[in-house]
Symmetry: none
Subunit: 221 residues, 4 copies
DNA sequence: GATGAATGAGTATTCATTCAT
DNA sequence: GATGAATGAATACTCATTCAT
């Protein structure tokens, strides 16, 4: 749990907790307003500190943004990589588990706001896009590529190019998270059924990846 | 071609051309900076007019944004719906054609900026998210759902729930367009191979959708 | 009738009528918004012409203001001076008549807006204050002073200094007009009873002015 | 003394003093330019602060205006009401004292600018006119009406309708203050003799109000 | 003459950042 | 460390004025 959404335990030294509290507040505000429209006043107020104190911890708004990306996302990648390393079951089971965990993290921790911010601000903050690309996306893509390769090696999957297939696993997950955070609040009647959507996604995908008993041809790269 | 990227005309009948010229400029600036960080000065400068002239055509920044969505996106939907109505071949061929056309429009006309803007600004402009949801997304989703239903009716596809499957067709296309506009500029070595990616997407998808001769089981909803 | 509040007679040559129509529109707009907040767009729209046409008749906003003062007020002064010259009855009757006429003009023609504008803009347009002082106020004050002097000369009034007393006649009239245009619209329950107010004003004033042999007031006619 | 025209204090406890300093500056600028033409830059400069600091104390221009009305006028009304409550002498003495005090406040503190602003901006800021009507004018009118009623009750004055007569007391005072602030600066030769004017006003008025020994008839309402 | 599209200087307001306390 | 008052650069928006048609 990289961010501390709770007011924090009584006995914790404040100075230790502050950065995380601030980042949690920043995530909220950035998620609601976007980067440019987010006001540091609001971040400070939500973190329960003064605006000046913000600058004791983060030199400027962009640094706050970067720290948020770093602290919010990377631990989840560490966790997923550990899961990959320790997994012993089938590639399909691992793929299903990672996809569900991926979506859960994006939604439960409101972390979907982070890629949305990166996407929205890549024009204004190229270094952030680069950082995100190198530290987050590459690792995530590699993670799923490894799962696919493991499945191919084990004879579970057909020999698709893993680097091309990996984003194909991810895209509907991101789609779901973006949808739920962007459109569902404005679409009161229709809940987006993420379960059914991801079930169908995984079923079609795994069906397509599976070595079919009838010897259906390998899809071309 | 809803936007006129062409520079200027003679010194008359300008009033007709202005709105499109302004919207083309606005698309550029919004795409580069996002909504909140875009300066109307820049839009005006890029359209070759003064700031005041902007306000002769659009009452405020939000209206400019809305008009952009309207004029840039809707004609493409009209076109796609016409293609659906007049298509006589297989559902698969139609699906492949629409997906390619969809991506081409997003990239060639830089229109991917529009959904990115909507996503980034939905917190600040809820009415815009609603408008986009109702006018664009619903129609697009319905379009692909109809193609799938047509395939099911024709016996080409298995009986998947079309409303759930439609976003599954779309997600990788949006992913590609977002990737190419957001990350590829910062990732000079690695070109994202959209061709290969969409080929694999369509192959796996159509494979999964196809009525297998051996009577493989229908995927559960 | 210096201003033309009506759309104008069909047969009138427009070029003749235009300036008056514009000034009538300007009076409306200035009365509603004050000088600085009045928009020439509104004046033009209300006059039924384009903004450019305004500049064919008046070089700038200040000139419009000055012309308004000139055309709206001076004819009424001419009229009042003519009434003074031709009057043959008692000074009291003349005073009463002029006071009532003064108020009626201010209210009926919405001319109260003009002194209000002069008062409000004297800091920004010193020349206008000077013009109004010299062309309007001096003449008005002189007018009432002459009536008082005539009354003194005729033995109707006591020998008060006429130049000091004249503004004393005027002040409650202006007060009434300002009240009715400024506060009565926001005070729906309470109509300001201008009749009773001016009656009391004139009664007390004339009572105070009246020549009594024993130093006590003579009963008024 | 509600406004602090004094320049500055030590470098602390400034937050206390700021609002009054700002309002004093605002009174100056509004008095010179009117509301719409006043620039907040000028207010800030005159208050010795930056433009941004203004917004720390007043949310917008209209709020500055309202606060000015509130802080500048109401204490004087409190004072006058206290004087009325504690006065033990004749109604005439009280009336004379209040009238002189009224004028002195308007001129010494430049407060005449406030009713001039209200009059000039009532079209643009109806709520301000309402506020001024309810908080200032009603109380002021009631104040003078009470003095008159006290005089009637004590047998000093004739039985005139006090609510009608009260504005009659006030009108020449306002006239004087408006004159001195609006026209006297542009009329270098002729000083307006406020002393003589108010003397004559009070003499005629009190003469008219006084119970004449010869039993002259009460003026009709 | 008349129009109204175009202009750009002008102003209210916001907000990231600083710094004296 | 923490505060929050102060700053001023930045920007959306307005409107008097001009001028090609």
């Amino acid at each position: 749990m990289p961010l501390s959404p709770a007011p924090h335990r009584r006995w914790s030294r404040r100075k230790q907790a502050r950065p995380s509290e601030i980042l949690a507040a920043a995530l909220d505000v950035f998620a609601e307003r976007g980067f440019a429209a987010a006001r540091l006043d609001d971040v400070a107020a939500r973190a329960g500190i003064s605006k000046g104190t913000l600058y004791l911890y983060f030199p400027d708004k962009a640094a706050l943004f970067k720290a948020l990306v770093r602290e919010a996302i990377l631990p989840n990648l560490d966790q997923a990589e550990a899961a990959l390393a320790s997994h012993t079951g089938s590639a399909e089971a691992l793929l299903r588990a990672l996809v569900r965990r991926f979506l859960a993290v994006l939604l439960d921790q409101r972390l979907i706001a982070v890629p949305k911010l990166v996407i929205g601000e890549s024009g204004n903050f190229p270094e952030l896009a680069e950082f995100y690309l190198n530290e987050v996306i590459r690792r995530g893509k590699s993670l799923f590529a490894q799962v696919i390769e493991r499945g191919i090696a084990a004879g579970e999957f057909r020999a698709v190019p893993a680097a091309v297939a990996a984003p194909l696993v991810i895209a509907p997950v991101l789609f779901t998270a973006i949808w739920k955070s962007t459109f569902e609040p404005h679409d009161p009647g229709n809940r987006f059924d993420a379960e059914a959507f991801l079930d169908l996604h995984l079923d079609l995908l795994l069906h397509g990846l599976s070595r079919s008993p009838d010897g259906s041809p390998e899809p071309q790269a």
